[in-house]
């Protein structure tokens, strides 16, 4: 009889804790009503940004996607439109982070990543709504509002992440 | 700090509204939706003028009502009893005008058939499918109520035929349009559009372009065509989709053929355009009826005797006739209609 032993490192533990934190933040945020559907501070992304800086892109992607799946299961809308929106937003922002992760640290801090990822996130969501959920829906009126939210929350999350990383 | 200043400025810019000086008010009068649009006036004035027009309409509506107690129902009571009754000068003018138009239409426009309209259940705000007594209808038709049975002597009026029961349903809305136009002009309003239950009269323009009206598709919740309505012009439509009920799969609309006593069948709508003149509004209401009621091949003749050059006749989805003059003015929104429309040479 062979025993399989999976050895976990402290790094794995750390990542698991961070993922749990991300899920927790996401679920917590879902409890609070937002004035406009789709406009959320996205505080769970602070974890994603922190992981990106400390452990690299691959890990950040893991944490982010795990968060999306686990949260939707916990909140009870797995495979629902909400889940699809969350997933598409995450995929778009992760792709953006992939291509911008090597921007010189001398000039670009995590704030940049946060803002860019936030814009990518809402772009992904609006695209899904417009192309698949309700084709040709007149989302034009919503775009400026979402963009403004992305800018504001992108900056705030970025500042928080920067502070955490600096400590 | 600077960031928030810029943000504030951005929001301020975004809230800059490019509003045009147009005022719109809607109310329910004449048992239907009344829509008044005024362009290029201060809001206070537009509001005051619109309110007064609604007030005028409400008074007219109460005075001319076909079945709720009014001056008209009093006349009808007197007519039925062969009695004399006092009549107001403006109502006398209305009756005289209606009589003239009835004659012009060779009797198809007949406001004296209130009895028939009531028999079909249409003299109610909410009506139900009605199975009529055939004999009752025959008798009502045979009684032959005509506007010419009414005799006006100074301020007294009586009828030589007790079956005359006035129902100004096909006249009052158009008449009200004329009253509204006169009032707007008196108040110095240069540009306005008044819509009473679908009947529209125009004054001036919509800024630098003419007022544009849509024509309702008889079977769909959208416009089948649009056209520009020049100042003083009026447009009216008689349709089988406005007031009707269905019984055993057949549609019974509120427009009754006085010679048969039965609602007109096999036609969906007739739209007429009236050039600027004193009673353009009245004609826009009245003149569509004779065309609607006429036999299928006599519709253009009916248009001619009413002096209508601009008309659109929709008998069905694929049977559309439009006069040459009207065809020049219209822009089709429905591609099928555009294809099917037959242009009638005068």
């Amino acid at each position: 009889m062979t025993h399989l032993t999976i050895k976990t490192t402290t790094q794995d533990h750390q990542i698991a804790k961070l993922t749990a934190l991300a899920i927790g933040l996401h679920v917590l945020e879902a409890v609070f009503p937002s004035p406009l559907p789709g406009v959320k501070p996205g505080i769970a992304n602070i974890v994603t940004l922190y992981v990106l800086a400390e452990y690299g892109f691959a890990t950040a992607a893991w944490v982010s996607l795990l968060r999306v799946f686990a949260s939707s299961l916990l909140l009870g809308h797995f495979l629902s439109p909400t889940f699809v929106l969350s997933l598409s937003g995450s995929l778009f922002s992760l792709t953006t982070l992939f291509f911008t992760q090597h921007l010189p640290k001398k000039y670009f801090s995590v704030i940049t990543f946060s803002v860019l990822a936030a814009f990518a996130h809402i772009a992904g969501q609006l695209l899904v709504v417009r192309l698949w959920l309700i084709p040709h829906a007149g989302v034009a009126y919503l775009i400026p509002v979402f963009a403004l939210a992305a800018l504001i929350f992108g900056i705030i999350n970025g500042l928080v992440s920067a502070k955490l990383l600096n400590d | 700090m600077r960031f928030f200043l810029i943000l504030g400025l951005a929001l301020l810019l975004a809230s800059c509204s490019q509003k045009e000086p147009i005022y719109n008010q809607q109310s329910y009068v004449f048992g239907t939706l009344v829509d008044i649009t005024i362009y290029g006036e201060a809001e206070e004035k537009s509001q005051a003028v619109s309110n007064e027009i609604i007030h005028i309409f409400q008074k007219l509506h109460n005075r001319l009502h076909a079945w709720q107690p009014s001056e008209i129902t009093e006349l009808n009571k007197a007519f039925a009893q062969g009695k004399h009754i006092t009549i107001q000068p403006d109502v006398a003018t209305i009756l005289a005008d209606a009589t003239k138009l009835s004659g012009q239409s060779k009797g198809t426009f007949n406001p004296a058939i209130g009895g028939l309209i009531n028999a079909w259940g249409f003299q109610k705000d909410e009506f139900k499918p009605t199975k009529v007594d055939e004999n009752n209808i025959k008798n009502l038709v045979a009684a032959n109520p005509q506007m010419t049975d009414i005799v006006i002597e100074n301020d007294q009026v009586f009828s030589t035929n007790p079956s005359v029961q006035l129902d100004l349903g096909g006249y009052a809305k158009g008449y009200a349009l004329d009253i509204a136009l006169a009032y707007l002009r008196k108040q110095g309003i240069k540009n306005a559009l008044v819509n009473i239950g679908g009947n529209i009269i125009a004054l001036g323009q919509h800024g630098d372009k003419p007022w544009r009206v849509g024509i309702q598709h008889p079977r769909q919740p959208s416009a089948i065509a649009t056209l520009d309505l020049p100042s003083g012009w009026a447009i009216g439509t008689s349709g089988d989709y406005q007031r009707f009920f269905e019984l055993d799969g057949k549609r019974y609309c509120h427009i009754i053929d006085p010679t048969t006593g039965y609602p007109v069948q096999n036609i969906q709508s007739v739209t007429v355009l009236i050039p600027a003149q004193n009673n353009a509004g009245t004609l826009s209401d009245v003149a569509s009826k004779p065309i609607f009621i006429a036999k299928p091949n006599s519709r253009t003749d009916a248009a001619k005797i009413m002096g209508i050059e601009n008309f659109l006749i929709i008998e069905s989805e694929n049977q559309i006739q439009i006069s040459t003059a009207m065809a020049k003015r219209i822009t089709w929104l429905d591609t099928n209609a555009a294809k099917q429309a037959v242009i009638m040479q005068p």
């Binding site: 559907p37 439109p81 909400t82 921007l103 010189p104 000039y107 670009f108 801090s109 704030i111 803002v115 814009f119 709504v129 959920l133 309700i134 084709p135 040709h136 829906a137 007149g138 034009a140 009126y141 963009a147 403004l148 992305a150 800018l151 970025g158 500042l159 920067a162 502070k163 | 700090m1 600077r2 960031f3 943000l7 951005a10 810019l13 975004a14 800059c16 509204s17 490019q18 045009e20 719109n24 809607q26 939706l33 829509d35 819509n195 239950g197 679908g198 009947n199 529209i200 007022w211 544009r212 009206v213 849509g214 024509i215 309702q216 919740p221 416009a223 649009t226 439509t237 739209t271 929104l333």
Partner: protein
């Protein structure tokens, strides 16, 4: 500039991104936020346009989506979701729409309301 103490001072590249984004946001507002009054309502159910309705009337429309029946109100130049079978009621909370370009969307029920503007084909409807 230093009235607010930031927990972290953004780098030059950050400022570049922030200002560029701000310009994008301003541009989006300027072009997409047209403040003209609306004249028509376009209702979509999933990928089909159910109809385009004149806003100058008062009526209620019952639309059946996958989640159930929604009631749309049209009244005097405005429209709204009066009732919706969805859980979050975001669509209903959007309230009355009255300007061209405004939208209210019920994602669970796949219904969208869109107000169309003065590119409206007419000023008033004859019927």
């Amino acid at each position: 500039m230093n009235a607010i103490k930031l927990p972290f001072k953004p780098l030059i590249g950050d400022w570049l991104v922030i200002i560029a984004s701000l310009i994008v946001v301003l541009f989006l507002f300027k072009t997409l936020w047209v403040r003209e009054p609306a004249s028509q309502l376009k209702i979509r159910l999933a990928d089909k346009v159910i109809g385009t309705y004149d806003l100058n009337q008062t009526r209620e429309l019952h639309i059946h989506g996958p989640k159930g029946e929604a009631i749309i109100s049209i009244e005097n130049g405005k429209a709204r979701f009066k009732y919706s079978p969805c859980t979050n009621q975001y669509c209903v909370h959007q309230g009355w729409l009255s300007r061209a370009g405004q939208v209210a969307i019920c994602l669970p029920n796949q219904i969208s309301l869109q107000l169309l503007g003065a590119k409206s084909p007419y000023d008033s409807l004859n019927y």
